[in-house]
Amino acid sequence: MVLDTLKKIEEAIQERPKELEEAKKRGEKVVGWLGYNIPEEIIHALGLIPVRLGTGGDDRLVEVGARYISTKNCVFTRETVGLFAENKDPYIQKSDLVAVDTTCIQMYIAVEVIKYYFKINPLVLGVPRNFYLPDGQEYFNKELEFFTHKLEDFSGNKLDTNRLAGSIKLYNGIRKAIKELYKYQAADKSPIKWREVFDVVHSGFYLDREKYLSLLKELLKELKEKHGLPVIGSLNGDARIFLSGSIIPPKDTKLINIIEEVGGRIVGDDLWSGLTPSLNVNIKDPSIKGIADAYVNRIPHASQPYILNVNTDRRLNNLKQLVHESKGQGVIYHTLRFCDPYTFNANETGAVLKKDSIPLLEIHTEYSGSDFEAIRTRVGAFVELIKNKNILEVET
């Protein structure tokens, strides 16, 4: 049975394009953004409306995007270009400015292409590769100062410390609620599935952030009333799958559907379109530097490597910790073709998890359906492996 608050969130999403239209009529401005390191706190504190852009899973849009960029770019990037080319996505239509960070080089360059062909108003936030070095952190701080000044010019407002403190409090509340929701979906006899929580996270890409936090609190209250506190204890014979790897954006349901169809239960993720942006954000003071320092110390995207030092790699350590906390029994490592940072890291991620007796299955895919059956066989065998269905008497 669908939770009442989930229905409310769905209704709110239906209404959101109209709300944005009305806000724009009132003179408010919408900042659509792409990437991983854009701090929404600053956009929000300047009185702008942040919207996270990008959808996946539509091979037709990928083909549209491929008219403007190479077929050797990942499908998410190609579909994003396709979205701008078609200009039917309500959030792209309503974006007055498109912010992108340079975490993913493909996406950053794609925005340059989008600017050239579709005359958008872009703003770029530079991100260091070696973010763990003081020079890298200083670079990001300066980049964020420049980014903020550009947004101040765009909004006509100056960044106010009190307003920024309020925005930080709002986003801390959202992140805390999302982390709590993830505990519920992994719990025994959970009334909410991972898939529903993932959709709730994606709703937060679009909804008014104050309203979103209010809905998150309402959802947590409903869960607590109906279920009590989340307890992750018994395994109950489920094949508990943890999802990692390349982005799975809104509307990309191929792998998720297959996992569920073959009897797997997803119990967590460390996706940059899922839980990870809510983790390890510790903003010590309401300033640009406070935010820059906090963002640079989050769980890094795979394109921000630790020079393959698997012992100190925060991304790998975070993955191991989340798998452990959610009692995941196997990791499905989803890589999009030409998403090099995640694809390159698949083998050592598998090797690191193997030391903890956690098997990893890499699924390397695109948005077309041509590999659907092959993926179904692999995921099916992986679920069988986890469920240990194949431990049967060999005697006949």
């Binding site: 179904r376 066989t377 692999r378 492996l385 269905k389 194949n390 431990i391 006949t396």
Partner: protein, 268 residues
């Protein structure tokens, strides 16, 4: 199930592959019957036909069967089965049944190729599968046999008779076909080219094993396992002896499905 003649319960596995549909019947510790037919366009009918032929071969009727497991890519259209299991798990059980010391399986079927690692009970502990490509599959070898105007079964012995090896740079079915035509036009010896084709495929298969590892004994299953040239090339590249089961390697998946059917059926 018919108990009137004190018959032991029988269990069936049906493996609906891309090129061939196979069925095996087991009972009381022995293989009673089998069948192998080409896969047509109706996978459900193919599975049922293979099952019936295996029953005929075992001199049993459908009523004698206690449990049926379907596998292979056509398992999704098998309403006659009590359960479906992936071919990866089935090949593990089938290989373990035939050769319990099996720890590694190379399965080369009609449209895909798999590297499977087993524990001592025949449970799958790791696997890798080729990626969106016909290289190393039965379909690839069919195309190559057509280029040389020979029967598929002749490719392996021809490779073994090669005096030298002509390197093949591509394992893409389309590119390998055009490369082969060019090599023949250049006057290269066909057997040497065929050996080069087998080596190229073996190198590609070795790439999958770099992910899952190789542990003896190594078992070769699937239709391509009938190709002696491929077996020799794999042994050379993997630097491992491949055991030759005294059973049709193309039936291993169906046999594993029957073994699993026995496991589930015994609990019913």
């Amino acid at each position: 199930m018919t108990e009137k003649n004190n018959k032991k319960p029988a269990f069936a596995g049906v493996d609906v592959g891309s090129l061939a549909t196979k069925s095996v019947i087991v009972s009381n510790g022995t293989i009673l019957g089998y069948s192998l037919i080409p896969t047509g366009i109706n996978t459900e009918e193919n599975g049922l036909l293979a099952l019936q032929k295996a029953l005929d071969n075992a001199k049993l009727t459908r009523d004698d069967l206690k449990y049926i497991v379907a596998t292979g890519y056509g398992r999704i259209s098998a309403p006659y089965a009590d359960k479906t299991v992936t071919e990866i798990t089935c090949h593990g059980k089938g290989a373990h049944y035939l050769h319990p010391a099996t720890r590694t399986i190379i399965d080369m079927g009609g449209q895909d190729c798999k590297a499977i690692r087993l524990d001592e009970k025949g449970n799958v502990v790791d696997f890798a599968m080729n990626d969106k490509c016909a290289a190393g599959t039965g379909r690839f070898l069919e195309v190559m046999a057509n280029v040389f105007k020979v029967k598929l079964d002749d490719l392996g012995p021809m490779a073994l008779n090669a005096k030298e090896i002509v390197p093949m740079s591509s394992t893409c079915t389309v590119f390998a076909e055009s490369e082969t035509v060019s090599l023949l036009a250049r006057g290269e010896n066909p057997a040497n080219i065929i050996k080069g084709i087998h080596r190229a495929i073996a190198n590609r298969v070795a790439g999958m094993f770099s992910r899952v590892g190789v542990e003896s004994d190594v078992f070769f299953s699937g239709g391509v396992a009938k190709n002696v040239g491929m077996k020799a090339a794999l042994e050379e590249v993997l630097k491992a002896k491949i055991v030759a089961p005294e059973y049709d390697p193309q039936l291993v998946g169906a046999l594993g499905a029957a073994v699993i059917a026995k496991g589930f059926g015994s609990k019913v």
